[in-house]
């Protein structure tokens, strides 16, 4: 049996749990609890350990989908979760007070992991807040020297989440034959 991981990360309430559920073959395992700090204002329950989903590839291979807890006080979990991961899907909500700060914070936090793999960014909740625009996110990363895929995403839509994962796979290996 071969096991691999894709990591979903981002702040509280961006839709990590929903995104994993959109493409998982199994009912996602979530560990939501009553939020006790600032997360409470974002959503009533929040992920305190991790989310888990899975995509089965035949009988012998599994892609495990791990969602990191959004609250910074659980950041000790993040490094453990990324070990053995093949790539990072970073979700950022356009409806949070400072989505650019969120994006930079998580890119910085996962810098070492991204350096050995790839990252794609999904901007969620653009139906609730249409600015900043996707091109503004790209402008924020212009000096980084890498061109990261950044897509508008509705975490409930399987097609959107799937395209985000596809972009991650092609970033890892443009010669893939689907």
């Amino acid at each position: 049996m071969s096991d691999y991981k894709i990591i979903f990360s981002g702040p509280v309430g961006v839709g990590k749990t929903t995104a994993i559920g959109a493409i998982s073959d199994v009912e996602p395992v979530t560990t939501d609890e009553q939020a006790t700090d600032m997360a409470r204002t974002q959503k009533p329950g929040t992920t305190v350990a991790m989310d888990y989903g899975m995509i089965k590839l035949g009988e012998r291979e599994r892609i495990h989908l791990y969602g990191t807890p959004g609250q910074e006080r659980f950041d000790f979990m993040w490094e453990i979760l990324t070990q053995g991961g093949i790539g990072l899907i970073l979700l950022v909500s356009n409806n949070r007070p400072d989505p650019f700060h969120d994006m930079h914070f998580f890119l910085d936090t996962f810098k070492a992991f991204i350096g050995n793999s790839k990252v794609v960014i999904g901007v969620t909740q653009m139906d609730l807040a249409d600015k900043p625009r996707i091109e503004d996110y790209h402008l924020q990363l212009e000096d980084s020297g890498v061109k990261i895929p950044i897509f508008e995403v509705d975490a409930r839509m399987k097609n959107d989440v799937s395209l985000l994962v596809e972009a991650l796979l092609y970033s890892l290996d443009p010669g893939l034959e689907g």
């Binding site: 799937s162 395209l163 596809e166 972009a167 010669g175 893939l176 034959e177 689907g178």
Partner: protein, 389 residues
Amino acid sequence: MTKPPSVPIRMAAIGMDQRQRNALRMLFSTKCGNRYVLMEEDSSEICILDLDAFGGERLWEEFRERHPQRPLILVSLRAREASDDFTLFVQKPIPVDRLITAIEHQRRHLSAKNEDVAHLPPLDIQPPLAEQAGQPEIQQPRKQHATRKAASLMSESMERAFVGTSPNIDPKDPEQLAKIYYNPEHYLQGHLQQALNLAVRHNKDIAVEGPWPAIHLFYESRKIRVSAKERQLRPYCTIPDATLEVPLRFLDQEKNSADGAREYSIAAFHWQLALWASRGRLPIGTDLSQPIYLRRWPNFTRLVVTPYALAIAALWAEQPRSLVDTAQTLNIPQRYVFAFYSAAKAIQLAGETRRAVDTLLAPSAVEKSKHHGLLGRLLGRLRGDKEQT
């Protein structure tokens, strides 16, 4: 690979700007194990001279006057004959292995300089015959099922509408070449571009009036409203009319709300119009051999995704590549690359590179991920799921 000499060969780059020199420095350190080092001409043993630099021919003449017997590697986009025993020619973009072969040959030339030069073996650094004849290198086409799998995300009729059915062309054949171009200005795509330019200039909303259903452009919200279904609009987007005068009118406030109209983002609408007009062709004047840059990834979740579009974007995001090289590297029909480029260029995400450094070195080969098989199976799985939804 030859054993690295203990002392690096001192190289000089003539007629090259700072970016080109940096590219060579990086190449020497990352791909050549620092066997070569870039220095000034006076201290060098072997020189590389870019004939495409301003006054390149004169630079060559003057170099030979200064150093009649110093080993020289000439590079240019146009094929040339080397005129003496101490000069080799390598055509740009330079494949790394050919540059190394040329340097190594000249290095042996250096060692043999005081011996018998005539004993040096002949050097073959010309492109393969197929390339010389303008034919792409023969590659095994991708497995048929792979092509169909990727293409099947679009129905066959949609794919025909967006990408066309044109066969691959030989870029050196003028007759075939003439068939792959279209003039966006003669299509609704061009009229939309004019409307956009006007909207930007005056910061106002615009009505694009013509025989087609009403098209209203709202600049501030970056939206387009069209009072028709796509199948009603498409015929106007695929037929060229060079004589049509299209009045562009500033939109009145009261006309801003149109009931039952379809709404698009400007980028998504422009992208789609470009695909319909292009049908696997290229905007007139596009140079097939010039590397293409991708400014940033398109927002694919809100655009028509043509087959292989993500693979092309991933490739160009790494490094500029020519359109023909892109099709060869991914081993896909050229029309998919041409269609994607036409759409990306329409929304100003892609274009031809203009910097000398971008044509100096040939793009490196695509490295397969160590998880290549697994990633391919996951991709197939995701796409299979999409077909079912």
